[in-house]
Assembly symmetry: T
């Protein structure tokens, strides 16, 4: 059924499609993880961390929409279903239950760090294949690295 | 660690906690499913369905936050991680790939129907255990049944 | 044509449908009556009463939409046509022509009182049949009783 | 009681008063009809038609207020009661029950057409009697004819 | 110096210029009178009248700007200086000092009535000379007559 | 003087009136206590606690208005005077002077806990007497329990 | 514990501290009294008085925050607890129960008058001790005297 | 295909259709010319002229939409394609390249003057044919003549 | 009739009343003069001066309301009628007709300068009589001196 | 006259200037074509397509401003006149008259596709010549490809 | 060149000018210091301190504009250049590099304390020289002392 | 103390850090210079230049925050202290005292030109070292070059 003739040659398209699909899964999981900690954090820094986490959720949700619609725009069906996310995310699974504020901050430092590493690989991978998608990965990386700094500073 | 003395007796708390955790998983998955179809729908009704789905996403995200924070308020740690959602959702998994607009509407009719049935059970289950939580389930049901009507009418 | 399988058993549905249809007619007529007096009131309290009436109009219009769409959500076609309203409203017909401010306030005290009585019957009637619809009637009653107080106080 | 010395001679006032009262009844009924269809429409174009109808409701409600207050400003008591509307509207009564989207659009094409014809007669009738009221009828006609086009185009 | 070649023939321009200059003076004075009463009104209806008067001020200021800039647009220098207003206004001078609320309302009924009479003459005078200016006078008259009704009704 | 015929039978009214009056006193005092601590808190968590307390103030002020106006709507004069609050509040008096941030959080945990216990009794007491008032108590309890969680988590 | 080295010499600080603490108690009680009358007023001027009172509440709440935080800024712990207010307010206690609109206005004239007298004494007392605090008292007095005029005019 | 039965007789419709199509072309070109000068103006008055031109663009774009949709509402297909505009505009072509601020103002004086002349002819032409369309031309003329004054005054 | 017992002794009240009444007349005339020039200015700086003048109008209107209501608050009836303004303003009358931009700026430099001189005298005159009124004169002076600088700079 | 010393060497400037001028013409025509179809579309999908087209207009107008001002910033006079657009656009001319909704969608798919192809060439052409301009082309391409997807999906 | 005849005698002007120039330098440096710490703070209180510092930046920037424009209004050229600030600020230089949250708070306590001391001297110095400038220094002092309290409380 | 493991290799990090620190100093000084001229400009173009300069201030402040936080995100402490800015800025020092409008524009043309040259060097220097930082420099350059054009055009 429905086939879009992509503006990209097949090889480039394959590269870009993988990068977008990977980013989609990472960003959805990042939003889920940040919400999970948002609800479960306890400790004297509760309020600061609770609020800071919702800003990560906003960033991750906004960019997951961007990359999924970018995939559609290139004629590639995006996959953001729960099972796909559970199986393919680059974010390490977090433990269930309450989490102390310092550990919560550490969890985010790790989660953001993991996603940033993969996102920078996508920046490199798509440079010649599609500068339009690359520009999106660059801007996503900028936002994630800003969050990364803030959580590191909060544990500094 | 961190223990809240709940305002509810243990038996009531167990009932309410299960209802809230179940609702959390259903609502997170509903949001993921609605986004998945939002990105993959094609056909002459594309724009209407695409926009209508984002309203379901807004409803589901808002209420998932409500029920998770309600669990925390009762001293019960909520679990909204990807693997938990993938394993426990009441929404039937959707197929990957593009979906025709009529099928997209049908998918939502089914997904909303399934969540509504379970949510009405939670309304009944929590009536005596905790009228505060029950009131939340009632309002969630009202919102979901309104969306349910609109998707049914759109395939009517 | 178009048939929705309602989440309610038939007997409950009949009860709820009658309550919703009755509320719809009452609320549309309440809005029409409040507008009629809004345009025809005269006297030293003109401005206060004129403005106060538009707040009743806003409440009545908002809730008439709520109950009509609730009927649709249960698979019951709502009827808000002029002839239906003229025939079935629980609000006593108001006289034509200019109305003195004190009489205008009295008219609203009566109209609101009549609708409140019927709305409280609907709260009772739908308690077991459909707690979702009942919750709507409870909130409508709260709003109407607040208006009722204000008009009574204004003639106190 | 309360008598305003109108800025218009008696004959002109009679003409203008009839035009305003007729417009009031038509516009109130147009709002009721548009809401009725807004709640009862079904079919693949449900969402578009449902939203488009609320724009007609907004137009009709805004202008019904304008013409009623214009009547009051000329010293003529406006009559917008349910029974008056049911008896005197220029809009053909719509059938009860669900309505398919194409029929819904057709219903509005007819209803708007009927009101426009009468509104244009009011433009002509009031030209010399009261250019202020005429200007209102001209602007109402402009708005209604824009809606009329959009519904015709949607069935074109 | 600075001369604009007007789009109107000389005779028409003279007619329109007089109408605009007259309206400018009336509207500036109406704003001053309404503010004067706004500050000096006393009595149980103080708050209602005080607020209602500021709405007249808003209307009068907005339209004085409109007619002055319309004069400029036709190449006619508008004159809204205090001495010109004091000498040429169609509004009867109000007495100094505090004013009871009922008298305040009566003052406005008179002031608005006087300006409306002159504004309707301007509507008639400019019909053939300049339909653009006439349309402005028609809209100003509509607004003033609405205020006029409200103050009459408040003393009704 | 001024007597409202209440929609409730006398016995029910007595129950509901006591619940509303009790809630009014509790909520006014909760707002005063939260402001007192808002001004006197010191320590490294100053800013978080200072801001969090103003959200409690907003909640308590909003709901004190709701319950007082609900009493009026039932024909019962509400009493929110300083002496009444000082004498009848369910919140334990707080000490004068500066308060360390951890103690400030503890003070709120206690104050909210005390009000919640009494509010849940009001939910139970009014269930059959007046579902409209009960619904208000349910929503107030939901809001207070959310604040209660956040302060407990902040000391967790 | 926590000691701020105040920018003011001890004698000046004592003067300013007493003025600020006194203003705090007066303003909190003014807000409580205005709310009490807001809920209990009846009579034909109900709506005007009801709304006007909420503007007093807004003024009193805003300024009570200003003076309390000013005390903290000078290193003086503010005391706004219910018992302190009940014992030390300069506002005469109001009677319980419903109050006719004219009496309601009179109550506010008296309450505002009492607070203004004391506030003007604070303006004088702090002139040399602390021009920053004095400036706050001047602005509070300006706002209160504007309200005072409006209530006097309403009973004029 | 798609045929609307116009509310106007054929002769009137022909007159009105020509006027609307002519206005559409003039207004689109006016917007393009104003943007062209907006980008190319230089000189000490750069910023004022640059900003003033964007207000002309807003006016021209808004009214081009109005007249095009008015044509559609009368059943006449509007034509606003680039080639049609290039061939039929009443605005004299402007030279390419940078333009000094005084010349830029002069260009707009000429362009607005040309469109106004034609727009006034349309006001006259449609007076009996369609007062609804005429009213639009009157309001467009009012806006254009205001801009015309401002550019003339800026070179005065 | 209506007499307010002023918080000021008679001699002080007389001083303050004269200052307020004088300020009222100056500020109303300043607004009229600024509008007059706003409409009549021509020349290359038209747009800048035209806009800058409306900011003076806003300042003058806002502060005329402040001083008039301050007079009322002290029990002194303010007089802002056209004849009073024409007779008593401290602003030199401006010539009729178009005014070149440089002259327009000069007119405002002079008008603002004249009002500032008188306003500074009022600051001095009311220092001991009423610090509340003095504070208003200080803030008005600050605003006027800022405008004064901007017009001087524009002719610098 | 007016010469800007560009930050780019001559050869690079020539490349970038051609790209910007070409993009300007394409984007202006895209806006004109989208508006043309916006006014002329008919059929059951009328409302969706009508609204979707205005979003293309917004995108095209915003970016045409961006590229024209970028050209000016590099010292190159942009040319967006009607004749230039009619002669040089990369968008195929559309037929006059009404257009069925499916054809309307197809027209946009083609128009967007043509502009995207040329815009991607500009991305490639300016990579080394001017990364600042290239970044603008990348972002324009991203927006256009998103619209392209949505119209393709709507005909999918 | 450009000379403003100041409203102040020379001796007063000299006093006020020095005070304004000194305040300008202090406030610009305060904004730079607050931003420096905003970027370099680390530690568990990172987020609270980071946000709190931006509120100081807003205050300092707003008031630096106020005092600079006040100087201009008195005919005195303000000097806010980097070298002037570096040479003349009353704020002690901060060390380069990361700063722990507690030290960051301490830095602000010191910086605000230093500026407040000097600002209070300016309040005293300008009392007779220029009450308008003094009033600005009073309000700046109020704002700074509020920030000072909050940072002291945060280290309390 | 506090060390972030940067995502960049050491050599790249050194390059990027120097570029960011240089940009920070340039942008802070650009904001200070633009404010300095904003306060000191005189002449007939005063208002235009005064307003235009504040837009440069907004741009420079926004981007100085961006680059400083980018440095922090890479683990490099940013230095934006007054002495650092005074010593290292790429903007030529401006003379003290009043500045004629034409010279003010020229000053900005020079200042922007100097910063743009250095910013383009940073775009080139960071291309391979860090595309994320490069993208920020590209966007900063785009904004600065737009301002540069506008000031050049204003002196053209």
């Amino acid at each position: 059924m429905y086939v879009v003739k992509s503006p990209l040659p097949d090889a480039d398209l394959k590269t870009v499609a993988e990068a977008l699909q990977g980013a989609l899964v990472d960003l959805i999981d990042l939003a889920l993880v940040a919400k999970q900690v948002h609800w479960n954090v306890v400790g004297p820094r509760f309020r600061s961390v609770h609020l800071q986490l919702d800003e990560v959720v906003d960033t991750a949700r906004m960019h997951s929409d961007t990359v999924a619609e970018r995939a559609s725009a290139l004629g590639v069906s995006p996959d953001g279903r729960a099972a796909t996310v559970a199986a393919g995310s680059g974010v390490k699974a977090v433990a269930e239950g309450w989490v102390k504020d310092g550990d919560a901050v550490g969890t985010l430092v790790d989660a953001l760090g993991a996603v940033i590493t993969r996102m920078r690989e996508r920046v490199a991978a798509t440079e010649t294949a599609d500068p339009v998608s690359q520009d999106m990965f660059i801007q996503i990386t900028a936002d994630l690295e800003k969050h990364h700094w803030m959580f590191q500073a909060a544990n500094g």
